[in-house]
Symmetry: D3
Subunit: 234 residues, 6 copies
């Protein structure tokens, strides 16, 4: 799945932008619950803390309904863009109300929380689930597209006039779905890459004023997990 995400990112990026696909060194193979999400969040923080070189210009979080966004904004100075937030933001430019179609019913609440904290829930008309798990959703694109079209019809009935791909596993299917549906379908990976570039091109970085300022140095026993021998830390 990481390869497909990287492929979308590279296909969208401007000339001159280099995409580096990072995976956490430990944790779940996919995120389909808060449980997976909170483990993955720590594993991402760990991954970033143990990077030998930090010369990133921006970080994209490629899990839809990801948690940990705010912590990474504290950990880094460069912009951190979450694909759920990015997809919703772009969808709002294209339609009065948008919907999200995700994999499993249990992810609906997780995505609602993500969008509520992002302040983007008001124009969200619908969050629907295929009933297919994340890894399977990427494996059989035709089946996924067919189920997606069914749920998209429900989302449209709920008032959505643009849709977001509600799983990183759907990446690369937006054009096909958009053509089949006759409405904009936003791929969060692509959206996040362009927004990260936007911030970088404008020279804008995360505010360090108060809430997301650098973590205070303190004892953090056994952290980072994957490289305890490094003096590391934030």
């Amino acid at each position: 799945m990481t390869d497909r995400i990287a492929a979308t990112a590279r296909a969208t990026a401007s000339p001159g932008t280099e995409i580096v696909a990072l995976e956490p060194l430990w944790g779940p193979s996919s995120v389909e619950s808060y449980y997976d999400g909170f483990i993955a969040a720590a594993a991402m923080l760990d991954r970033v803390a143990t990077l030998v070189s930090h010369d990133l210009d921006a970080l994209v979080l490629a899990g839809f309904g990801e948690v940990g966004r705010e912590a990474l904004r504290e950990q880094l100075h460069v912009p951190v863009v979450d694909i759920a937030e990015a997809a919703a933001l772009v969808a709002q430019l294209l339609a009065p109300r948008y919907g999200v179609v995700t994999c499993l019913p249990r992810q609906v609440g997780l995505i609602r929380d993500n969008l509520r904290l992002a302040g983007l829930l008001e124009r969200c008309a619908s969050i629907r689930a295929l009933g297919v798990d994340v890894l399977d959703s990427g494996a059989d694109e035709d089946a996924t597209v067919a189920r997606f079209l069914e749920e998209a019809a429900h989302a449209v009935a709920d008032g959505a006039e643009a849709l977001c791909l509600g799983s990183a596993g759907f990446t690369g299917m937006a054009t096909r779905l958009s053509e089949a549906l006759g409405m904009p379908v936003v791929d969060g990976v692509a959206a996040a890459v362009t927004l990260a570039e936007s911030c970088h091109r404008m020279g804008l970085r995360t505010s360090k004023l108060t809430t997301w300022s650098d973590p205070i140095p303190k004892e953090r026993k056994g952290w980072p997990v994957s490289a305890p021998e490094h003096s590391g830390g934030a």
Copy 2:
């Protein structure tokens, strides 16, 4: 002011993007009220309706707190990005809550309405005004910057951790203000240009599903205003 807006747009645009600065053919010299805004909105619709060639890839509305955004989305198929919505959207990526500093106290309500309709009010902590009118604000940059810094302090006390330039007349001052304040300051013109490019790069256009579908052909007496001899219309 149009020249300064175009300069910002060109400075931000990707290589290969051509910026065409259009002005309405009639209406107010600046927008500082709903009255000016509604006249300007019609004048913008008129300007677009009478364009000889429509080969735009996206349209940026360069008035902060502009009205008419939704009508232009109906009139065109390409993405329409409003600088107030764009600035707020980018600010939300960089700080938990943002503020807006604009020219006149009467614009505060106008901007609040714009952001409320855009679904971006929840994370807006403050909207403040300099008490200087739009055209003057661009004329004396030092005075504008000095007053801006004073109001920025109030916005920060209200909870803002990033700021938006709340007038197109402030364009070009973001870096200077950001350095003086030690926090991100977003120029809506720049933000809108990058978002318009993002949509274009992803092949995304305005949803024509229901609300923003093409205006229904009908009698529109004396319209477009500036070119009644054209058969025109939407």
Copy 3:
């Protein structure tokens, strides 16, 4: 349609109130989109700006989901009452939650925005559309009533316990619909006339404190559109 609106207004007005039915001098024959709405808003501002005599006691805007309300409040000192806002306000006195039934699906979002800006969306349970355009809706009252009753049933299922006629073209049908449905049906034209009289009787006029104060005198090229020879302006 203007005649039918005037007839409702006259039938509702108190003895001694004179109803003057004004039409914009240019613009669309009906308002069914933001596009029409923004053109009509400017045309209304133009119409008021070029009135030879301004001795109105109040202004009623007789388009449902109209835009331009705030601009007219800046332009005039007398109360300006919009029929959508008026209908919703009266409906809220009569039922815990109300619904709106309008002509076309594309108007649903337009009306939602109108009510959101008016701060009246919280008690709105439903906005439904007949799928009939505005001019046709007035032409065949029996057909319109029949379709309205169908959509009213959906609105009631959504939680509405009073309904608003969601188009000026429905004016005059409220009593018939109310009797058929056994619930209050509010005609916005009638409601707005009585609210305008209420304000006038109490000696209340639009606040000129800040947001809706008089437009600032400035160059407004080619404005007003329909009478450039008048020195006019706000």
Copy 4:
């Protein structure tokens, strides 16, 4: 105080409208708390239940922040208009955001709850209190006006551009305050009378569809309180 309320109502009513001032037969001499409000609500229900003749065309509740509004709407078929709801509703026609100035700090929460249930809180910018009790506020008009002007200034700083008299005891002072402040000041008693007339003139009555339908006949021991010998009831 009842006399002054009746005087305002008569001064505002249309020719032909008869104002009947009713007082509950028991309960508190003024309402300054939920405790008083809930006793007064039952006493109002009792007063209406024991009216020999019910030929009212509408009922106005003349306590600001009154509770019991919904129960009276169940008890009667004619419109029931609460002065707090009426004042806020009219203020919203005249200004983008309004404020309320009441007697005691403890009433602020009571009024907020009233407006929240009425769905009119979103455009309320401020609720301020004089620190003077209800009966005293009517006794010394000059002192009340002086204190009101001080609190009004705070409300304006909070964003209010129109004000509501937040106590029935202030009735009759609106014109004087409005002139001193240069902004609209709404007297809820006057506003409610005109709204009650509006509903009546349009032939509109309370919805009996579901929520506010007639109370179900059942045993109500010792009720109505003031006339147990009447077979009465709702």
Copy 5:
């Protein structure tokens, strides 16, 4: 019904907690409307005002969607816990969104208002009604359970993942329903008893700072209703 409520309360209370079941001395035999609710609220205030001994440690209001909660908080110093608020609070600890199933459709709005004032509406996904009146609902438990299961399925479809028994008449059925549904079902009587004990154990009492401070002594003619010979009062 009072006996069954008391039985639930005693079954839930900690060892050492004494449950005293009080009934108002007058008013309706059940609360199914605002009308009943406002009469019952005054009758509860009257009952408490005429208690010979006030040595309560907490008061539980055992009507679902009860009004009068705030007045009792003014009248007493000990915690006052309403079963609707208590049930919703506990449900929120157990599920992301909860539903309420009540007796009659007309109670839906009453319960919504109760939860809105309690600030607990955001996570409420559904309020459904059986169409059975309160007294009947307790009389035939099997029939009530069967109908409850039907409405529960609708509430789950609306997004509820825990349910509240929406009537005191349902008390004692929670375990049976929870087992049948495979989800938490909260009995508000039980929840309120435990919350009242919680407050008491922590030594916490109602805030008397401003809004809910003791009612101001004043003339309250004929009050308390049931014991006019007592000098009583608040």
Copy 6:
């Protein structure tokens, strides 16, 4: 700090309740940021996953503004109570609006997010910070109390009528602060213990219907972190 938290928990618990104080095996010594919070969340999940015996009746999360609450609800079947949610919930029973006083300004946003997701933000009038870090706040109780009283005054001015101790480090100071302030001050640790007992006494457990159902078994590389030799998992 864990000892002081355990002491409060034991002092509040009912007879027969055993309090087991668990600390994560790795991670930060205190939580003052999202960064610390997300590391601590994973460390708590790890700690629970590696418990030899799971015979808990409920879990209390004793960090104020903690993240990870929803993941623990997935991981376990017994109730999981977060001290921020518990404190706010109890405060709402005692006052119309409450405030929170925490340690550092950067925690204000973190706590706001926690309460927003808990659906408890509407009645929150104020969140204030002492400007003292978490570990120091517990070390010098007199200094902490003095600073708390200053910030409490600001919270009261913002409209709070009850306060929550906004840090686990403040545990044990509630009675002293409450007496000094003359208003309820809620200790979240105590509140959470009583709520956990409440749920347990009622036989209520976390809903496993959809959102918080058990984590799906899958590959989770290197997890749990602290005991990879255990077969473990969720």
